[in-house]
């Protein structure tokens, strides 16, 4: 009986995130607390709901704003969970993200940053117009497992090979992802990056694949 109620509460949480329904999310979390469901199981349902919403981006039925609504509902859930646990943000894979120097476009980077943060990464967002040295010192200081670089114009994108070269020299195990409007997979490879994500739809799969390749020392 208890397990049935637990399942119902967790399903409600998952569906609430997927349907971006904050009211139902609160009901689900209230019920989950009442049933003393462990926080990690609640968190798992929150992420599962987001994942289902993100998968819809592969279809024409769910434009990006619908997914961003789910992302916001997920954050509300995580916030409630963290205050109930009496802790701040949980740790995860350290990831540094930023837009290269000279480029003020932050929207794409902000979306990707939120997706990483909602998916178990510990995100250090350096913002826009980040100088090369700031990327390198931040990667070292945070012991970043992943560095995500963004550029929205071809003239600022030209700095990426230099950033990648210097980060690889200082922190060879850091996985470097690149993205932005002027890039494609061939450019990313020629720059020496470990991975390329075309959009919010594929960024998690591409990052995981790049981490596996680097870990196995496989060629991209």
């Amino acid at each position: 009986m208890k397990s049935e109620k637990n399942k119902e509460a967790l399903n409600l949480i998952e569906k609430a995130v997927q349907d971006h329904n904050a009211k139902e999310l609160n009901q689900g979390i209230d019920e989950a607390f009442l049933q003393r469901i462990p926080a990690n199981e609640i968190r798992q349902s929150l992420f599962q709901g987001l994942e289902l919403s993100r998968k819809k981006l592969f279809t024409p039925e769910a434009p990006l704003p619908q997914f961003l609504l789910s992302l916001e509902v997920l954050h509300q859930g995580l916030k409630r969970l963290s205050s109930a646990e009496g802790i701040g943000k949980s740790g995860g894979i350290p990831l540094v993200i930023g837009v290269v120097e000279g480029d003020p476009h932050d929207l794409g980077k902000n979306i990707i940053s939120r997706i990483y943060a909602a998916s178990g990464y510990e995100v250090y967002d350096l913002g826009t117009q980040v100088p090369v040295d700031a990327f390198i010192s931040s990667v070292k200081e945070k012991r970043a497992k992943v560095l995500a670089l963004s550029s929205m114009i071809s003239t600022t994108m030209a700095q990426m090979p230099e950033i990648i070269k210097r980060v690889k020299a200082e922190s060879p195990d850091t996985v470097i992802m690149v993205g932005g409007a002027p890039l494609d997979i061939n450019l990313a490879k020629s720059f020496g990056a470990d991975g390329y994500a075309e959009s919010a739809v594929t960024v998690l799969e591409e990052t995981e694949a790049a981490m596996e390749r680097v870990s196995a020392k496989e060629k991209w």
């Binding site: 992302l71 929207l107 939120r114 114009i153 003239t155």
Partner: protein, 229 residues
Amino acid sequence: MIVKPQLGAELISELHKNALSTLGYQNRIAPGKDIEKILSESIDWVAQSSNARGMYLAEKVAGINKKEIITETGVIRSPRFARLAGLCKGKRSVVFMIATIGDEWKRGLGTDASVLRQLLFDTAASEAVELVAGLVERQWRAEVESKGLKASLRFSPGYCDWDLKQQSVIFNALDARNIGVELTKYYLMIPEKTVSAVAVIAQDVPAPAPCAFCRKDCVWRKMSYQSKR
């Protein structure tokens, strides 16, 4: 010529329609009330706060070869656009234009805006500057047509084979500081929501865009394969 276009009421509904389409809401998908609410707020704010300005200037073409168009103030290095200009009939000139909505729209975001809010405001601002560019274009096009001439479609640095660094050609022709626009060392226009372009003017313009000579199926394509045959 400096112009101050107005984003009037009739353009607000166009802005709304264009923004929804850009965000991926086609006929069978509705955005829902949460998204509609923020989108309407962003459109109202962008329309009210926009400091829409534009400028344009026509210069005679001094020469055309396979790779470039030479004007009084600079050289447009785009083989495809040069080919388009080469096909034109009669005396040719190039119109340079810049349009902006300024940076005020960003204040509407407030602090700690969610990424959804950022996306909707950014989309509204991008669509607004496109409409403003359209209004500036309408003005110079009316002058062109009143002289019995024709003009190609707008062509911007970064399109097709025209290098983004060639923004400097447009900024050499126009003193954009007069409308509050600057070019950075990375050839990025500030304010961000600014559009720059050129077009060829002549007695006859057989190909409106370089897409006529291109078979690449890119998202920026302005002419179908059908129409160029």
